[in-house]
């Protein structure tokens, strides 16, 4: 009781204090968001039964022709799943296709082959005699080092628009790079050539595209990474962790080794010193929006998965969730907003795949890394039930503020009240240490709001935005014009650039 009253008064105090609070080095502490209970009004989540007695810790999912899935497990098995799209999931059939992969994280189907990312190589397998057992295994590429450290994971993408797949080489023990090309992203051509493409990777949890086809990966909070985030794998880019930069001496594919970042700095400060440094596109504030982001994919279902077509979804292992991301490019740099989206999965989610018909497949495992959820491993599917949630859809930066669009018209009376918008921001220390507190807390002032006549967007004028900060906007008391509660009223926008017009 006592703590509650302190809290509400404190909130009041924070609200009255609208002055700019930025003072470098100060710490802010933001509490987690309340748990969402509305998801089931819009999305249906179902467990896909697994064969009894089998341990299927899902590390990879590939979509195959004829509504078939392939599932790669951390134990090294690859299963074929039939019936995962059917209404009656009790008839799902699992067939063991291959045994002997090395903890593959990332798999796709192309030209009759399943291609996956083993620790030690990109490999492909196929069945040539139609008995649903792989009989050919071929190495596509193996031009990086592994030394037996369990943290030397390898996360692979689907093919990009040029047909290349990308592979991400986690640092050794997540903090050193004794093996060749640890901490790098490489492109692997269909012919099996490797092209070193980005440096600065720490400990990825997944890799995937946005709707435009640019590639992003999730990097987990840790050394040189203040909070988990997704980063744009811009060819030639340095993703921020300098540990693997020793390997510039192995290749001239992306130019000379970048300048070392300074300790106890800020990403925004170091960007000015290090032109190759790619800032996080969207920071997922630690424990507020998960803390182990994993698989990434674009919604290309043209509305079959709800009103978020063309947006990017990012899975979360620790919290057993899926977050939703709006990305935009400003001055050639990606940035954008993250909302919480789907939650309460049976296990922490690692890989996700979204089929054209709007079925989201989510694979779970919590072995070795704790995850919310009740079971140690799982495969689930999520479908939109046709009810459109009233929610923020996009958050776009403007020269003097942000524009917010909505999935359905909102009540313009409430939406035109300035006091229904609260924004504050903070950033993280950029340093060799493991993660960072929230620092440089700053309050923004909303000075003007314009609600569009169709009720589908608002334009906010915002004073005191901070480059390099996560801007947290909370919408209060804003409902649909039909009275519907706003789903996920909190959004976190990472501001790397401000457009001039």
């Amino acid at each position: 009781m006592e703590i509650k009253s302190i809290t509400s008064q404190l909130t009041l105090a924070a609200v009255i204090s609208t002055a700019a609070l930025a003072e470098k080095g100060q710490e802010a502490v933001m509490a987690p968001l309340p748990v969402d209970t509305m998801m089931s009004e819009f999305y249906t989540k179902e467990l896909i039964p697994m064969p009894e007695g089998e341990v299927i810790e899902v590390g990879s999912i590939a979509l195959m022709p004829n509504n078939r899935l392939a599932i790669g497990t951390r134990r090294g098995d690859i299963w074929l799943v039939d019936g995962a799209y059917a209404d009656d999931l009790s008839k799902v059939k699992w067939t063991l296709f291959f045994r002997g992969a090395h903890e593959p994280f990332g798999m796709f189907y192309r030209d009759g082959w399943l291609q996956f990312s083993d620790r030690g190589e990109i490999a492909k397998i196929r069945d040539t005699n139609g008995d649903d057992k792989a009989d050919q295994f071929r190495v596509v590429n193996a031009s990086w080092g592994i030394n037996g450290d369990y943290h030397e994971y390898n996360f692979g993408s689907e093919p990009d628009k040029d047909g290349n797949m990308w592979t991400l080489l986690c640092l050794t023990g997540s903090k050193s790079a004794p093996s060749k090309f640890r901490g790098w992203a490489m492109r692997i051509t269909p012919e099996g050539e490797a092209i070193p493409t980005c440096s600065g990777v720490r400990s990825p949890g997944g890799i995937g595209f946005n709707a435009k086809g640019d590639l992003f990966y999730s990097d987990n909070q840790g050394f040189w990474n203040g909070s988990s985030c997704i980063k744009h794998l811009k060819p030639g880019g340095f993703m921020g962790n300098p540990t693997g930069n020793v390997h510039y001496e192995l290749t001239d594919a992306i130019g000379p080794r970048p300048t070392e970042p300074n300790e106890d700095s800020r990403i925004q400060t170091e960007r000015a010193r290090i032109p190759e440094l790619v800032p996080p596109a969207v920071i997922f504030p630690h424990v507020i929006v998960g803390r182990s982001p994993t698989g990434i994919l674009p919604d290309l279902t043209e509305g079959k998965f709800g009103p978020f077509a063309e947006q990017t979804f990012v899975a979360e292992q620790n919290g057993a969730e899926v977050q939703r991301v709006y990305l935009e490019e400003v001055n050639g740099v990606y940035q954008g907003a993250v909302w919480k989206f789907l939650n309460d999965f049976a296990t922490g989610i690692v890989p996700i795949r979204l089929s054209d018909d709007g079925t989201l497949f989510c694979g779970g495992t919590n072995r070795g890394w704790g995850g919310a959820g009740k079971v140690p491993f799982s495969l689930e599917r999520v479908r939109w039930n046709g009810n459109t949630p009233t929610a923020m859809k996009e958050m776009k930066v403007t020269p003097d503020g942000f524009d917010i669009t909505f999935t359905k018209p909102i009540d313009s009376a409430a939406a035109s009240q300035l006091e229904n918008y609260h924004m504050h921001s903070w950033t993280y220390i950029y340093r060799s240490g493991y993660g960072s507190p929230e620092v440089d807390p700053t309050d923004q002032t909303i000075t003007d709001v314009k609600v569009a006549s169709d009720g589908l967007s608002v334009s906010l004028k915002v004073d005191n935005r901070q480059l390099g900060h996560v801007h947290h906007l909370e919408l209060k008391n804003i409902k649909g014009n039909d009275g519907a509660t706003l789903w996920h009223p909190n959004v976190f926008y990472t501001l790397n650039e401000i457009p001039s017009k």
Partner: protein
């Protein structure tokens, strides 16, 4: 409604209201601590402190790591912790990621205070000043703590339960073949034993064929009937007030129990215990129960409990119905990229994809996957079967001036194989493909009913391959030539070689080297491995 709030604990210009409220905040650490614990810690340690995922992660409730000086735990949380640990008699091999750069002193104090006073833990609360001091002490440390180093610096408090024995005297007798008649023997050594317990402390583990006699006074708490429970490896005998109450005869382990009951007076009662050890495991466990005793306490030194292993064994064999099974992970004794293959005839091998060579062979189970399939799966696993033989560890092809030249070190060998893939037959047996210079090689292993393995390397080349090529058929074991084509490798394997592509195999140091006489086209090397 906590959600959109910034709680800034050091702002000079925030309102008086906030300041006065914050001043009272530390008193509410229990509430803050629980919320912070739930957010930052519970996904692994469990909301109830019992370790998440049914105890797959270490518990904090009742954990010895939480007891006593908070410095141990604070160091682990601030700097991170790796290496195997034991918590409440169970081993864990995970990683505690460092939180010191994420959580501030107040938050850590709140979390620690909550953990140390919850779920039955009854330790002192922790202040931000304590956290600050520990943090300052670790300022220069960039690596996570290794568990053994942390425990060396901050050991668990020693439990000192006094023993039941007084005025003890221990005699050791050497060179005895069975429980002796002690009246006929002179002790090798003897002396006062003030430990208060029966123990074999100070006697070398490898010592064989000896006997021990303890004579002491047993402090009996009340008048009444007492039962003595004896386990002994090998023989043991308990005599109270000159009367035998329990005996274990002959040779055997600590699973053998004998007990006896005797009426004792409340006082110091003379006890004599005799013990004989032949060889192998040694130990004596004596417990008693009766009036005034809680449970059945130990008169002998309390045996240390072996913790439940962090990774219980998961033994894998070859497949069903005559099929082979492939296991891919880090295998001790070969390179990080390697397959273990278990064949239906119980023969197993490890094939290195880095060297394109069969490097290990063994019989029996294929692998213990427990290490890799539990927790994060750190490290390499040693093949579990019998007759484990390391038959190669170097690149298998080299150019030599003659058979006597020493084999080049792997990093100097120009003939680096490139693993291309494998085909699997109906029985799941792989045929490996690789390239060495201009040679394309197919490497097929097939099991025989007698447990042996046949291996055929088919070497194809579109042009005449390089001259002075040699193949290393085995290396690293003691090698003995049995006849022109047969060699013994170490203790367990006989290697028979026939080839369309080679001259006579020769022994070069500890290796069997085969000169290759390759021409354009396909030639074969046949290797047969049978068990001794």
């Amino acid at each position: 409604m906590l959600s959109h709030m910034i709680m800034n604990k050091r702002l000079p210009h925030i309102s008086w209201l906030t300041l006065s409220l914050l001043a009272s905040a530390p008193a509410s650490w229990a509430a803050d601590g629980e919320a912070l614990y739930t957010t930052y810690c519970a996904s692994c340690h469990g909301a109830d402190g019992n370790g998440a995922a049914g105890g797959a992660f270490p518990p904090l409730a009742g954990s010895e790591w939480v007891k006593g000086d908070p410095a141990r735990g604070l160091n682990a949380v601030i700097k991170g912790l790796m290496g195997e640990i034991v918590v409440k008699d169970k081993a864990y091999n995970l990683v505690m990621p460092p939180q010191g750069d994420t959580l501030n002193d107040n938050q850590l104090a709140d979390i620690f205070s909550y953990v140390r006073t919850s779920w039955g833990n009854k330790e002192s609360a922790v202040t931000a000043e304590q956290v600050k001091a520990i943090r300052a002490g670790t300022a220069g440390q960039t690596d996570m703590w290794q568990a053994d180093a942390l425990l060396k610096k901050y050991p668990f408090p020693k439990k000192t339960t006094p023993g039941f024995l007084k005025n003890g005297f221990r005699s050791i007798y050497a060179d005895v073949e069975a429980m002796p008649d002690f009246s006929q023997l002179e002790p090798e050594s003897q002396g006062e034993d003030k430990s208060g317990f029966l123990s074999l402390d100070g006697i070398p583990k490898q010592k064989q064929h000896y006997a021990v006699v303890w004579e002491a006074e047993l402090i009996v708490p009340e008048d009444g009937e007492y039962t003595f429970i004896l386990r002994s490896d090998d023989s043991g005998r308990v005599i109270m007030n000159k009367k035998e109450v329990a005996i274990i005869s002959g040779l055997g382990g600590l699973d053998r129990v004998n007990s006896g009951t005797v009426t004792l007076k409340k006082s110091a009662n003379p006890i004599r215990v005799e013990y004989f050890q032949a060889k192998g495991g040694a130990g004596i466990i004596l417990q008693w129960k009766g009036p005034g005793l809680k449970g059945s306490p130990f008169i002998s030194k309390k045996p240390t409990k072996k913790p439940k292993p962090s990774a219980p064994p998961i033994i894998l064999n070859h497949g069903d119905a005559g099929t082979a099974r492939i296991y891919r992970h880090f295998i001790e004794g070969t390179t990080p990229r390697a397959y273990a293959v278990g064949y239906a005839n119980d023969a197993n091998l490890a094939f290195s994809l880095d060297h394109c060579a069969v490097e290990l062979m063994w019989t029996g189970p294929l692998i213990d996957a427990g290490r890799h399939w539990t927790g994060r799966g750190q490290g390499a696993t040693k093949p579990p079967g019998k007759k484990l033989s390391k038959i190669n560890s170097r690149l298998p092809f080299a150019q030599l001036s003659d058979a006597k030249q020493s084999w080049p070190a792997n990093e100097e060998n120009q003939l680096i194989p490139k693993f291309l893939g494998m085909d699997l037959n109906q029985l799941g047996e792989p045929s490996m493909f690789y390239q060495v210079a201009e040679m394309n090689i197919t490497d097929v292993v097939s099991p025989n009913k007698d447990g042996s393995l046949n291996r055929q390397l088919s070497i194809s080349s579109n042009k005449a391959p390089a001259q002075n090529l040699y193949f290393s058929a085995a290396d690293g074991l003691a090698v003995k030539k049995l006849n022109e084509t047969s060699f013994q490798l170490g203790d367990h394997i006989q290697l028979d070689i026939s080839s369309s592509a080679a001259g006579s195999a020769t022994i070069n140091g500890q290796s069997v080297v085969l000169p290759l006489e390759l021409t354009k086209g396909t030639q074969t090397i046949n290797l047969s491995y049978s068990w001794k």
